[in-house]
């Protein structure tokens, strides 16, 4: 028996579990890593540059927050076989249904614009013109859905999700002090005291961890993948692993900028990448590639979240398992979102900063409703049966939702009135 065969024989159970996980994993890992989108990368880079490793503990606290919210969409999707938009229409009637759908479409479109801003900024570091970036991205995004199989789309998306982990080797290039990271980052404290500045950063980090499109995306993806009640346990593992990955990526970005850009004011992730290029060519390249990938992953998930939601409500064929001729409206909505959002970035003098600011405010109008509906739907015994929320789950998720609503509202208000918290 050669050494490889012996290793496989000794660890065959672990190997089989990993292979099975790779086959089953999908919506959870994808949605969580897509959460680290272009805006998220900027937030983490700025957090590290301003507070060093000091807020790593706070990111770790966000892991259960992200997991518990997204886990509910898994149960809801697998049991009801409905997307979140359709579930809201059915349970709460047309007023809340249209409000959620229109708000989601607007929020997603604006967020899509910010993803294109991130992607064009990242590739402009390598002297790629924005128009080229947008054309290539639009073509790749179209090719990903054209093959007519959800499974294939998911595995391609997982490759891009894996590329999001590029920040992890990136952090090792600079040899950060592990003892410093643990000493400064593991113990909960507020560097410089709990003032308005740090409060703004805490709110921004929460805002990037839970977004309305994530709820709609994962529930629809669970339905499109055809997951059943029996798959819930695996999909929970998928979601948990996704939460671990997303917090790991965020932590490593903070480690990078906290080590080499401490004290530098970061306005965007692209600016951080350019500064890092001057310190270490490979590190800057890693951040720029990661930023592009983050924008791309965010774009494919966000545009699909809208198309699925609109398709569900209008009763159109809305599955990645359909060919274009079988679901023309679904793919039409997907393509329209990509082309219009990409075009906005190319308009000279377009108010891109205003759009980025507006996204935060508009997202807050939808997030509380989407989260409250999620909890109410998970407590509906008629549809959820034995998969409804337990008292323990209700306690945890209600606490999480209340905190998210308060902090995200304060974040939106502070974005509208910057002097209010100064």
């Amino acid at each position: 028996m050669n050494s490889f065969a012996r290793i496989y024989y000794n660890y065959r159970r672990i190997a089989k579990t990993i292979i099975l996980f790779l086959i089953i994993s999908g919506p959870g890992v994808i949605v969580m890593l897509a959460d680290n989108d272009a805006g998220g990368i900027t937030t983490y880079a700025a957090t590290g540059a301003k507070y060093g490793y000091g807020l790593i503990w706070f990111l770790v606290l966000l892991l259960p927050v992200a997991y518990y919210v997204q886990e509910m969409t898994v149960r809801l999707g697998a049991v009801t076989k409905r997307g979140h938009a359709e579930a809201i229409f059915s349970a709460f009637g047309p007023f809340w249904g249209w409000f959620s759908l229109l708000d989601l479409a607007l929020t997603d479109w604006l967020t899509l614009v910010t993803e294109f801003i991130g992607m064009t900024a990242a590739l402009s570091i390598f002297h790629v013109p924005p128009i080229m970036t947008i054309i290539v991205v639009a073509v790749v995004m179209l090719l990903m859905v054209l093959q007519g199989r959800y499974w294939t789309w998911e595995k391609i998306a997982l490759v891009f999700a894996a590329l999001n982990l590029i920040y992890i080797p990136g952090a090792f290039i600079i040899h950060p002090s592990i003892s410093n990271i643990l000493h400064q980052g593991a113990i909960p404290h507020f560097p410089g005291g709990l003032n308005n500045d740090i409060f703004f950063f805490l709110m921004a980090n929460i805002g990037t961890t839970i977004a309305p499109w994530m709820i709609f995306f994962q529930q629809s993806a669970v339905v499109d993948k055809g997951l059943q009640e029996k798959d819930i346990a695996w999909e929970k593992v998928d979601t948990f692993m996704g939460s671990v990955f997303t917090i790991m990526v965020a932590t490593f970005i903070i480690v990078v900028t906290g080590t080499v850009l401490r004290g530098v004011q970061i306005e965007s992730a692209a600016q951080a990448a350019i500064k890092l290029m001057g310190i270490n060519k490979y590190l800057g390249t890693f951040l720029a590639v990661g930023l592009f990938d983050a924008g791309f992953l965010g774009a494919i998930c966000i545009s699909l979240a809208s198309s699925w939601a609109i398709g569900e409500v209008f009763g159109w064929a809305h599955s990645l398992n359909y060919k274009i001729r079988e679901a023309p409206w679904f793919y039409g909505a997907y393509l329209l979102a990509i082309l219009t959002a990409g075009s906005v970035v190319l308009i000279p003098g377009a108010p891109l900063v205003l759009i980025t600011l507006f996204v935060q405010v508009i997202a807050v109008t939808l997030l509380p409703a989407a989260l409250v509906f999620l909890i109410l739907l998970l407590n509906n015994e008629e549809t959820m049966g034995k998969y409804k929320n337990t008292r323990w789950q209700n306690t945890i998720t209600t606490m999480i939702v209340v905190v998210i609503i308060i902090l995200s509202t304060l974040y939106a208000v502070s974005a509208l009135f910057p002097s209010l918290f100064k």
């Binding site: 229409f89 809340w96 249904g97 409500v313 609503i405 509202t409």
Partner: protein
């Protein structure tokens, strides 16, 4: 000829929008009745969401007015 074409085009546009409105009316009818049981918790939650939305609209309008001034 061109008048005929214009009539056809305007008719088509009208038909397109009528079809969409019909679809919206159909959706409204399909989901007319809320399927969730209206327990006190559900009622309170929906009331909170309405108040929250009104608050956000007031904040946005205030911001808009101060910007215009």
């Amino acid at each position: 000829m061109s008048k005929g074409m214009r009539v056809t085009l305007s008719q088509r546009i009208r038909e397109f929008f009528l079809k969409r409105f019909r679809k919206i009316r159909e959706i409204n009818k399909r989901y007319e009745k809320s399927s969730i049981k209206m327990t006190p918790a559900v009622r309170i939650s929906l009331l909170f969401l309405r108040i929250y939305l009104i608050f956000l609209v007031v904040v946005l309008v205030y911001k808009f007015v101060t910007l215009v001034r």
